[in-house]
Amino acid sequence: MSRNIRITMEVNGEDRTIVVEARTTLADALREGCHLTGTKTGCEDGVCGACTVLVDGEPIRSCLMFAVQAHGRAVRTVESLSDGITLHPLQVAFHEHHAVGCGYCTPGLLMLTLGALERSPEIDEDEIQRVVAANSCRCTDAHAVVKAVRAAQTAMRAGRE
């Protein structure tokens, strides 16, 4: 009931307790409170998708969720994808398919498509294109991103088997 609130959320597998203002978005809390700056903000309007993270496994816009709403929830950011040695199949595929431009939208695209693939591992190319269309980008070839996600889908499938 106050304007400054202590919250605890699981971020990339670790409990983090921070104090936020009620109006602090999850995006800002991750970036400023948790010092995880991989999550970007590009519009704070929910349109560009640069801030996409997984909350309880679902890809959502972290600029449209107040941090207090993530209290008690599990958040995954781009920093969780790699242990610093091995890259996630999506990261590998983005690299190999020239699907990284300036790189600003890349974390959001990775978390968006990861969330989509985890929800529906067998989505087809049309559906992937629709998913990718959720995020905007000016310097990455969207078709390269779709191709990368297709390739990662195959790799992730092989990894499960």
């Binding site: 009931m1 800002d28 704070e44 996409t52 816009r61 449209l64 107040f66 709403q69 998913v131 269309a133």
Partner: protein, 286 residues
């Protein structure tokens, strides 16, 4: 862009939520999916002093059917309609419509009731509730519960019949007869955008004729509306391309369009003709 400061409330029950609304009235906003409210707050176009986050209220996500009605609770997300299972054509219709709403991350958070209460003229759900004769269940701490019919609910752009202390706690949609056919179409600049124009057509087939015809138009006028004259034109007629064109022309003529930066009145009428034609055509598919 950061929201103006507010007090955050996270009630655990509807009673508590409407109690907070009664206390704070027009200085409070209900936060459900937040996919419209939070952008408005981030840009400070909306600056409530109190935000009532209903996401921690239990049992507010699953719909159920009773007395021939689909009853949609306040936290049912757009994406939940992907797997909606109800008897008759209402399920497929709602699945069809929800696919047109924005993009996955928004559909995962945004709620049906939130869209209804937000009353965007181009909202898919506002149109669907209007055409399907939904009843909105509004609840306040002082006056209890009242039902408002869709056509009385949407008053003007982003304005509903909800009082400051009222919360939309449920929307009820009558199930559709197995003989119902429907067609939905949306015209948008980009996939996932709010539609420039939307149309939902629902009717029953009686032998070769269309009966109980309902034609709703969204996005073009200030509120979604059923086009009575068009419905009359189609009632008890056999579907045909020519008839559909005639109906669409009539729709274009009687529409009362808003003029926007991207379209003058004549263009809005063109969009109306196109969207009505295509929704009608679609009703014959599948």
């Amino acid at each position: 862009m950061r929201a103006a400061a507010f007090d955050y409330h996270a009630p655990s029950s509807l009673d508590e939520a409407v109690g907070l609304l009664a206390e704070h009235g027009d200085d409070a906003r209900v936060l459900a999916g937040g996919q419209s409210l939070v952008p408005a707050m981030n840009s400070r176009l909306a600056r409530p002093g109190h935000v009532i986050d209903i996401n921690r209220i239990a049992h507010a996500e699953r719909p159920h059917v009773s007395a021939g009605r689909l009853r949609i609770p306040p936290l049912m997300r757009h994406v939940d309609f992907d797997t909606l299972a109800v008897d008759g054509p209402l399920g497929p219709l709602m699945r069809d419509v929800t696919r047109h709403i924005s993009h996955l991350p928004i559909r995962l958070r945004g709620t049906f009731c939130g869209s209804v209460a937000n009353a965007d003229p181009a909202s898919e759900w506002c149109l669907a509730t209007t055409v399907l004769g939904a009843e909105m269940i509004a609840r306040s701490a002082r006056r209890g519960v009242r039902n408002v019919l869709a056509k009385a609910f949407y008053e003007s752009i982003m304005t509903t019949a909800l009082a400051d202390d009222e919360m939309l706690v449920e929307v009820q949609i009558p199930l559709l007869s197995p003989f119902v056919r429907y067609g939905f179409h949306k015209i948008a600049r980009r996939s996932g955008d709010y539609g420039l124009a939307l149309c939902l057509v629902v009717y029953e087939r009686d032998e070769d004729e269309m009966v109980k015809v309902r034609v709703g138009l969204g996005g073009v006028e200030a509120v979604p509306r059923r086009l009575g004259a068009v419905e009359e034109l189609l009632e008890r007629r056999q579907p045909s391309r020519r008839l559909f064109r005639e109906a669409a022309d009539l729709a274009a003529e009687i529409a009362d369009p808003l003029v926007t930066a991207d379209g003058d009145e004549a263009y809005q009428r063109d969009l109306t003709r196109a969207v009505v034609t295509r929704a009608l055509d679609r009703s014959l598919e599948g």
